[in-house]
């Protein structure tokens, strides 16, 4: 069996940033495994701009952002194995992978999981009607159009107003298609406001909230869809049913972290994030195995993916050099108005500030977040608005964390 200090599973932006950070922390025997023919992950198909403003201080397209990290990996001589699919990870850190040369078994000093996520499929959505051609997940359509140059349709309805759906509405419009409508089941969009403005409003594409696709019509190819408004319980309101002719339906209904390997290793998963439970170093409940990027929590900004991956890379390097971090930990918990908090566990005596990442349950106007351990307030933060589509970050100072005994809760109040 081969041995490496750190094995990174997945060469998307998360995997690349984790590998670089681990290397820069002094552990140079790092390898990255990716099943695709080149690294960069989902960014290779995200040809639009809007990446890197926060992290690199300039606005790049997806491929350009990925290239910045690929160059840094190359510069350090970090080995990358493409077309290499990881098929198993064990709790004692044996990574099994498969490529043209056969099966590879690596004993790793530490493992970083960075497998990203996949799109929720139509099967998981249960739309009634026929099953004609012309129904694509938004990400698949994006790959067809941007990587293979194959245009998927001319008259389009999009279900789901997450960022991918919004970006695709503009992309299809650019390519001469008519986007008839974007329907969103919830009473608010899950996408970034800037994407609603520059992808829909710029082109006069209507966004229908509390609306779903109730039925798909067409035998061989999609001929139209029936859209309808839904009530508070997300049940279709019959009287509002309306037929829209179209040849293509794009589904942009959320991403699911790709955690088969994580489960296979017996790593506990948070039912809300669908990613592993981690501490502030992004270590899972199994020592020496770390997770970052979309496999840990679905991110809307790649910049935060890179930040998170650096924490995991540094954590993995430290594990290789010094073993597991010891010391007291407390759990974190979502309170009023907060859907989840990540990391789910923090060391209180590490002497370092800890950033808590969270999402709110619904859109709010001006709010104040309060981070508490029992009755002790550790941090507060105000925001002019908060929405589920935009991840929040609140930093707790090390001196406040020190001595915290009770679980840490983050809650919000509307001001």
């Amino acid at each position: 069996m081969r041995e490496h200090d750190i094995v990174v599973v997945g060469g998307g932006p998360a995997g690349l940033a984790a590998a670089i950070a681990a290397y820069d922390s002094g552990v140079t025997d790092v390898v990255v495994l990716d099943r695709e023919s080149s690294v960069g992950g989902i960014l290779r198909q995200c040809i639009h701009n809007g990446f890197g403003l926060h992290k690199l201080g300039r606005e790049l397209t997806g491929p350009e952002y990925a290239d910045v990290y690929r160059c840094e990996v190359e510069k350090r001589g970090i080995r990358v194995y493409c077309e290499t699919t990881v098929t198993g990870v064990t709790a004692d850190r044996v990574v099994t992978a498969q490529n043209k040369e056969g099966v590879l078994k690596i004993k790793a000093g530490a493992v970083v999981l960075a497998m990203g996520c996949r799109e929720r499929s139509r099967g998981a959505l249960n739309i009634s009607g026929t099953r004609p051609a012309g129904v694509y997940s938004a990400g698949t359509a994006q790959k067809f159009i941007n990587c293979e140059g194959y245009m998927v349709g001319k008259k389009v309805v999009i279900l789901g107003s997450g960022d991918i759906g919004l970006i695709m509405a503009r992309r299809m419009t650019f390519e001469g298609a008519k986007v008839e409508a974007v329907c969103e089941l919830m009473p608010y969009s899950g996408g970034l406001t800037r994407n609603i403005v520059q992808c829909l409003e710029d082109f006069g594409i209507p966004l229908y909230l509390s609306t779903t696709v109730a039925e798909i019509h067409g035998k061989e190819r999609v001929e139209g869809v029936t859209i309808a408004q839904v009530d508070e319980n997300r049940r279709v309101i019959e009287e509002t049913k309306r037929y829209i002719p179209c040849d293509t339906l794009l589904l942009s209904c959320g991403l699911i972290p790709e955690n088969e390997l994580t489960r296979g290793a017996g790593i506990p998963i948070d039912p809300i994030t669908s990613g592993a439970l981690v501490d502030e170093n992004r270590q899972t409940e199994i020592p020496g195995i770390f997770a970052c990027g979309n496999v840990l929590q679905v991110h809307d900004l790649v910049d935060y993916v890179s930040d998170e991956a650096e924490m995991a890379g540094i954590g993995a390097a430290s594990f290789v050099k010094n073993g597991a971090v010891s010391g007291k930990t407390v759990e974190t918990k979502p309170g009023n108005g907060v859907r989840y908090v990540l990391p789910q566990r923090v060391h209180t005596e590490s002497g370092k500030d800890v950033s808590l990442f969270l999402r709110v349950t619904q859109p709010f106007p001006k709010v104040r977040f309060t981070v508490k351990s029992g009755d002790v307030v550790l941090a507060t933060a105000q925001r002019l608005k908060a929405a589920p589509g935009e991840m929040e970050k609140i930093t707790v100072k090390s001196e406040k964390l020190q001595g915290a005994q009770e679980p840490i809760t983050v809650s919000l109040e509307v001001l």
Partner: protein, 115 residues
């Protein structure tokens, strides 16, 4: 003028209000100076960066992604798309290579390397 805008410069997406006359616009709601500039530009001459793809002629099913090196006037988006659609390229292409020059005062450049 009295216009409400959402700043699209960064993901924070501040809600901006623009009031006043054309050469004396007052912007509020911006968390940083970039937002003020954006609001003034948006009310006087709105611009956008256009991104798309160009087929690589000497490679099977291969596209190279491209963008305008600087934002172009918003009303010219579809014209720029036409020009990009008509463009032809041959590999190898390195990211940053100029694909079309002189497009509304800027260039269309490759954002991906195809060897």
């Amino acid at each position: 003028m009295n216009r409400n805008l959402t700043c699209i410069i960064c993901p924070r997406g501040c809600s901006l209000t623009v009031e006043g006359e054309k050469d004396n616009l007052v912007v509020t709601g911006n968390a940083c100076p970039k937002g003020k500039q954006y609001a003034i530009d948006e009310c006087t001459h709105p611009t956008r960066t256009v991104t798309s793809i160009v087929r690589v002629e000497n490679r099977v099913d291969t596209m190279v992604s491209v963008k305008t090196a600087a934002p172009i006037p918003k009303e010219n988006i579809f014209d720029v798309m036409e020009k990009i659609r008509a463009a032809k390229v041959q590999a190898p292409i390195v990211a940053g290579t100029v694909i079309l020059s002189d497009v509304y005062g800027t260039e269309v450049i490759a954002t991906k390397t195809v060897l």
